[in-house]
């Protein structure tokens, strides 16, 4: 199992957060990432599956249904228990950064506008 190299990337974290809500397949994840990031992050199929491969290699996500021999291969992925733990660690790390920024007054004003 490949180790997780440093903090998770935005796409990897978004995938884990969306998989934590339930198993999903590629296009569903593409749409969910767009929605959950408020449209700021758009992951195409290439970016999505490069990130998914990293997560699967690291044991943070897993394939649920094996590919079918014929026809459309609708492969579904789920988050693993290790994935849950890493996701929570990463979210806590981000929350610390946000808390620190808020304490310094950087989050005052309308959302998206740094004073």
């Amino acid at each position: 199992m490949a180790p997780v190299r440093g903090p998770l990337g935005h796409v990897e974290l978004q995938i884990l957060v969306n998989l934590a809500a339930g198993p999903s397949h590629g296009y569903e994840l593409m749409r969910a990432i767009g929605v959950s990031s408020g449209g700021r992050l758009k992951a195409g199929p290439g970016t999505l599956y490069v990130a998914m491969k990293r997560l699967v290699d690291a044991g943070l996500a897993e394939e649920l249904s094996p590919p079918q021999a014929t026809g459309r291969q609708r492969r579904t992925y789920a988050i693993t228990s290790r994935g849950h733990a890493v996701m929570r660690e990463e979210l806590a790390r981000l929350r610390d950064i946000v808390d620190h920024a808020a304490a310094a007054g950087w989050l005052e004003g309308p959302r998206g506008a740094i004073p």
């Binding site: 195409g44 290439g46 970016t47 599956y49």
Partner: protein, 174 residues
């Protein structure tokens, strides 16, 4: 692409492009990635028609180019340095070729593209740019090219030639 069943044709073309990913990604994820692309394209076509299809292909081309770099970086190892370099150069040549083909296919539909071509270059330039790069795209799909001991050298040679040709024609401007 437009007229007739577009998704299977587009899917086949996209699936061919995925053949240029590193084997570890290509073998495990190319089919499901093509599924996601097909879903994306179908939804865009249903919502926006031709503009949606063009938009998806444009975004997919950028996404493919970027993800190719990421995938080869992930697959890189000291022993695979030659493959990494040849892969990056090949990606550059193919990206140039693909953009020239997309641009050429849109000439009749997009006013600014026609203006751009009339101002900056000639159709012959586009042909000269597109033809060898399209040939390179097709040649890269041939199985013997992806296997065997000469693979890195062949890829590197083709990529260097393709990139040099594309850049030379772009600079020349007919």
């Amino acid at each position: 692409m437009i007229g007739g069943p577009p998704a299977p044709r587009s899917r086949r073309l996209y699936r061919l492009l995925l053949g240029l990913y590193p084997p570890a990604l290509r073998d495990g994820f190319a089919d499901v990635q093509a599924d996601a692309f097909e879903d994306w394209l179908s939804e865009a076509r249903a919502r926006q028609g031709l503009a949606g299809v063009a938009g998806v292909w444009g975004q997919a081309a950028l996404d493919w180019s970027w993800s190719m770099l990421l995938a080869y970086r992930d697959a890189a190892s000291p022993a695979g340095a030659a493959q990494l370099i040849s892969g990056l150069l090949l990606a550059l040549a193919l990206a140039l070729g693909m953009w020239s083909l997309i641009g050429a296919s849109m000439l009749g539909h997009v006013a600014w593209a026609t203006d751009f071509v009339e101002t900056h270059t000639t159709p012959n330039t586009w042909m000269a740019l597109g033809a060898p790069c399209a040939a390179l795209v097709l040649a890269a799909m041939v199985n013997p090219w992806r296997s065997g001991r000469l693979t890195p050298l062949l890829k590197l040679s083709a990529a260097v030639c393709g990139s040099a040709w594309s850049l030379a024609v772009l600079t020349w401007r007919g």
